[in-house]
Symmetry: C2
Subunit: 109 residues, 2 copies
DNA sequence: CATCAATATCGATGTGCGTCGATATAACTA
DNA sequence: TAGTTATATCGACGCACATCGATATTGATG
């Protein structure tokens, strides 16, 4: 469970034409995480909340996916550094790590 | 071989929290295309050229991949609207469709 | 037309992973 | 401790796809 450290994630823009094989592998991991409709919908559902965080149980209900599948996707995004989670009682609340998304977006500029 | 029309590709930012299932599917296709180290390196190699375009044969030599594999990746990116190609004699030159990359990047802002 | 070089397609193989039901773990409550 | 709910993990299945060698196609040139 090695997280990509946020501070270290900083690759040159793709259009700069100086990507190394290692950087390409790191960036590709993140793009592949986003290359799944279910995960994009989960991110959007979290962002749609005024509190900017959502209990996992609500996410299970909103999408048409089973609880294990939602849990799996949340874990993938958490380990990719795209989500943060916090336990409060029985519930676990997820929120988006915006800086992570934004820094990935800069690769495309 | 249905290209996503460039003019129609315009999804709300992920953080706006209003993504539909259809939009999620469309965006996910593009992210998945970018979720491959070989393809990112191909894009970077093209961007690295002063002329901003590269003959496919050069790309075969630069990466450690077979000619069919490189041809496959170029086709995937072409059909995703990320690359444009032009035949000149025996050679086919590929260039990056920058607007496509940039508009995808805006989804992450 | 025949030949050569560049590119694309085909068929096969192996792997990654999305999905689920079943089950385990964790936390609260009585 | 027992019971209930929320979440995570496990094992299995099926499909998508990256990769390659072999082959077809395309265009230029004698």
């Amino acid at each position: 469970m090695t997280l990509l450290p946020l501070a270290d994630f900083c690759c040159p823009p793709l259009l700069a034409g100086s990507l190394t094989a290692t950087e390409a592998a790191d960036v590709a991991v993140l793009f592949r995480v986003l290359g799944e409709p279910a995960r994009l919908l989960l991110l959007s559902a979290i962002a749609a909340q005024p509190s900017q965080e959502v209990c996992a149980c609500e996410l299970v209900e909103s999408l048409g996916l089973s609880q294990p599948t939602v849990s799996h996707h949340l874990k993938v995004m958490y380990e990719a550094g795209l989500l943060a989670k916090e336990r409060r009682g029985n519930w676990i609340y997820y929120r988006i790590v915006r800086e992570r998304l934004v820094s990935l977006g800069k690769v495309l500029d």
